[in-house]
Amino acid sequence: MSSYRSAIDKCMKKGLQSIFPFVIILVVWAASAQIVFLLRGVAFPTPWQTFARLLELLGGDKLSNISIYVHIGSSLKRWLVGFGIAAFLGVAYGLLAGRIQWVEKATARIPQMLLGIPGLAWIPVAILLFGIGEPATIFMIAVSAFSPIAINVLAGIKNIDVHFIRAARMMGAGNNTLFLRVLIPAALPSILNGLRIGLGTGWRVLVAAEMIVGTGTGLGYSIIQARWTLDYTASFVCILVICMIGLLFEQVFLKQLEKRTIERWTLTAEAE
């Protein structure tokens, strides 16, 4: 009976802990809105106004003459295309450099160097390469998401327990079998981790890129547009939507996938 109760307590505690960050953000946000209004006389959108505007926009109100669904859709499309390119190149590079030593020696510093460049610093490069428009945005996403993916995949391949490789060789595995059936699955947790970080990086860069090299649609573009029309509440709605989508993908989707893999991959916990 008492253990039943303590299980409920534990559940409640966990539930409270997971909504706590949201409560803190709401309180700080609402307080800031009040203080700004009192001190500067500026209408700072409160959480409630923002949620109300969100419902309006979801209900069909136009933002920069375009439905919010179109903005979300075009942002998602750019993100996934840019991320797709980065994921393909990053995984391919990591696997190649992980297997061929001279490739690693010659190039392993490059993703490290790229990692040091903030996403927005690519704007002049993107504009010079592609002009203002869709390809420039996608380039910025791809180039920023590439490094974390490449670095994690390479590290994953390099850190594989030598005994896995020995066991495979001992059972007669040739190079292809070793690569496809041992190295890639063994590195999978690192590969997933890299993809998750890359996805998050890409999303942040996307929004910033849309603000500057945007082309009439997208959530980042809408934030800037709403500022010109003094519809600050709509800007806030966009920020909220961006945050939610990012959270959904990074935490819920990929993190679960990663957790599953790591659970199975680690053999420390013994089932006696």
């Binding site: 030598v162 020995r166 495979a168 060789r169 001992m170 991959w265 680690t266």
Partner: protein, 262 residues
């Protein structure tokens, strides 16, 4: 069947040659023999095994297997490691069948053969489980089944049961003997336990570290099945223990990170 001729092994690390782990070693293993290699930790027992397995190559001298120089690892020499090193992304059955699949075995034959080897080790009902769901003893059983499935000419075992609890260890020793009696495969078994040596071996070589090399090479002629509380058994253990006590204990390993991959 296996010959080591004047074998020395040193490791190169960060551009520095470390003093040899093995020096001018000679050893012959005959077919069908259960050979235990007994020695203090850090004396190069594992290096000896890795040389026969083909994971590392000798700095000097030659290692021959059936008259031919060993070029690398292969399924004719099955290795059971100290940790089971099962592939965690494969089920028990897929782990056991890994070598069979490489040889192109598929379908029903694959299933029946792997189940057969799992039955040998008493694991048939765990075929669909993943390694993380198994206990340490069960994992080591799978590791043995995986090597038996290769039908190797030699089993190389590197302290395979040392991480297990005493009860599990003794049971697995019995199972290993059962399998060995059935097929009479050559076994090279690395251990630091005199008890294990006295129970398993036909012949034991005692390793005394780099400078000493092989300090003893003696037959264990106790009748099988052996009894752990038998007087002769206890006398054998005492004798081995004395041999081991003459060696320096806790030798410093010669390398920091172990061997390089192959």
């Amino acid at each position: 069947m296996i010959q080591l001729e004047n074998v020395s092994k040193s490791y190169l690390q960060n551009g520095i040659w470390f003093p040899p782990v093995l020096a001018k070693l000679n050893l012959t293993v005959t077919e069908g023999e259960f050979l235990c290699v007994l020695g203090p930790s850090g004396c190069g027992k594992t290096t000896l095994l890795n040389l026969i397995a083909g994971f590392v190559s000798p700095s000097e001298g030659r290692v021959l297997f059936q008259g031919k120089e060993i070029r690398g690892p292969g399924p004719d020499r099955g290795v059971v490691f100290q940790d089971a090193t099962l592939f965690p992304w494969l089920t028990v059955m897929q782990n056991v069948g890994f070598g069979l699949r490489i040889r192109g075995m598929k379908g029903r034959l694959f299933k029946e053969t792997t189940i057969g080897f799992l039955e040998t080790m008493g694991l048939a009902e765990h075929a669909e489980k993943f390694p993380y769901a198994l206990s340490g003893g069960m994992r080591q059983r799978v590791a043995i089944a995986r090597v038996l499935a290769l039908e190797p000419k030699v089993l190389l075992m590197d302290e395979p049961f040392s991480a297990l609890d005493a009860n599990t260890r003794e049971r697995l020793q019995d199972e290993l003997l059962k399998v060995w009696m059935l097929h009479r495969r050559t076994i090279v078994y690395i251990t630091h336990s005199v008890e294990e040596t006295a129970y398993l071996a036909d012949r034991v070589v005692v390793f005394g570290g780099t400078d000493a090399g092989l300090v003893a090479d003696l037959p264990v002629s106790l009748k099988r099945p052996r009894q752990r509380n038998d007087n002769e058994f206890i006398a054998m253990k005492d004798h081995l223990r004395k041999c081991l006590a003459e060696q320096p204990c806790c030798i410093q390993p010669q390398t920091l990170t172990g061997e390089r991959n192959q």
